[in-house]
């Protein structure tokens, strides 16, 4: 990966000179790098792909600010980081703190399991209704894929795909906060 700086820099300089093909390749490469960068850093509620696109637009409209005497990677990284900070500051994600009764704070000992159940409901609530029902039936109530498929009038494959996608999207959102512990629980 040592060659990434000279390679991207070369593409950028060609792009600044008005050559569309290398410029396009630069934006392609940047979009992949940005997707990985934001994917790991986006808090729940922010669409990483939106940030990728916003950053590509900023790179494009402000490309005149690239100083050829400076490293390209540092320039691009500074824009990516600025956009991430800006997204956080703008509060496009807001930490959810629902209004509850006061006893939400004063929980009797041993209520952890109840709270875990409540967290699970909240997390599942972010999924589409049918996906949520499928996950609840197969993963919590213990129905087989075939039974769930019959109940919803779907093929077994469609049920598997829906569950897989649902879990994956939850995994993406919550990987950093809960990922480690649910492996241990299994």
């Amino acid at each position: 990966m040592d060659d990434i700086e000279p390679r991207l820099r070369g593409l950028m300089l060609a792009g600044l000179a008005g050559e569309a093909v290398p410029y396009r390749r630069l934006l392609d490469e940047l979009s992949r790098l940005l997707r990985a960068y934001y994917g790991r850093r986006c808090p729940p509620g922010v669409d990483a792909e939106d940030l990728v696109q916003e950053t590509l637009i900023a790179v494009h409209t402000r490309r005149a600010t690239y100083d050829a005497s400076q490293p390209f990677t540092a320039w691009a990284y500074a824009i990516a980081r600025y956009k991430l900070i800006d997204a956080l500051r703008r509060g496009r994600f807001h930490l959810r703190a629902p209004a509850e009764e006061a006893d939400a704070l004063f929980v009797p000992a041993g209520a952890d399991a109840a709270m875990a159940a409540r967290d699970l409901e909240r997390v599942l609530g972010e999924l589409p209704e049918r996906t949520r029902a499928l996950i609840r039936e197969t993963k919590i109530q213990g129905l087989s894929t075939r039974e769930a498929a019959q109940r919803h009038g779907m093929t077994e494959t469609a049920v598997k795909v829906a569950i897989h996608r649902g879990l994956k999207s939850l995994g993406g959102k919550y990987a950093e906060t809960v990922g480690g512990s649910d492996v241990e629980d299994d």
Binding site: R24, L56, T65, A68, Q70
Partner: protein, 216 residues
């Protein structure tokens, strides 16, 4: 999901004409120039040039005031150009930007210690010390507006620092314009009250940098 990103890349790269080098410097110069012109109009309409301007331009003190403000303004403009780019490093340029002040301060101290004690108060306070910094700040504001316009359209990533440079530069150029209206003639006055006026605008720029210079 990535289909729309591909489409975006397609449309961006289809519209990417050549970028002339030095575009950042030209934009900052344009903003400062327009702001400076507005400042000059403000100074002429509000205070008018000093009546003895034709004689004053023959004196070294007039040019010392002009030189101090202009040199500080230009050096801070160079700092501002750097800070208008992502991943900016200011480096030793910040020290160089303080050099004109160092020269003026040294000269002020020299004049002050050479002068008889009874002249000290007049040297320090002149006749306009209480209004000078505020006039400089007011005349500097249009330059600050021009600088903010220019830098917002670029890509600063250290907004507070860029605000400081924009404010300092605007204050210095405001002081340069004010020098055509002001008839103070002592180096200590220049070192203290002109600098104070620049600092007022620099503080405004620093406080406002984060919100004024934010770009999307």
């Amino acid at each position: 999901m990535s289909k729309t990103t591909d489409e975006l890349i397609e449309s961006l790269s289809a519209d990417a004409p050549r970028v002339a080098p030095g575009a950042v410097g030209r934009r900052v110069a344009l903003g400062l120039g327009l702001g400076g012109a507005a400042s000059a109009v403000l100074m002429l309409a509000w205070l008018g040039p000093r009546p003895d301007l034709a004689d004053a331009v023959m004196t070294p003190m007039f040019w010392m005031k002009f030189g101090y403000a202009a040199a500080t303004g230009l050096l801070l403009a160079a700092v501002l150009i750097r800070l208008s780019k992502p991943a900016a490093r200011v480096g030793s340029l910040a020290l160089v930007a303080a050099a004109p002040f160092a020269v003026v301060a040294a000269m002020a101290v020299m004049r002050f210690v050479q002068a008889p004690p009874e002249a000290h108060r007049a040297m320090l306070m002149g006749h306009s010390s209480m209004i000078c910094p505020f006039r400089i700040a007011a005349i500097g504001l249009p330059v600050l507006a021009g600088a903010v316009w220019a830098v917002r359209g670029l890509a600063p990533t250290r907004l507070t620092l860029a605000g400081l440079a924009a404010g300092g530069c605007a204050g210095a150029l405001g002081a340069m314009v004010y020098g055509f209206a002001c008839n103070e003639t002592s180096a200590p006055f220049l070192a203290i009250w002109y600098t104070a006026g620049m600092v007022v605008v620099a503080v405004l720029g620093t406080l406002g940098g984060r919100s004024l210079l934010r770009w999307r």
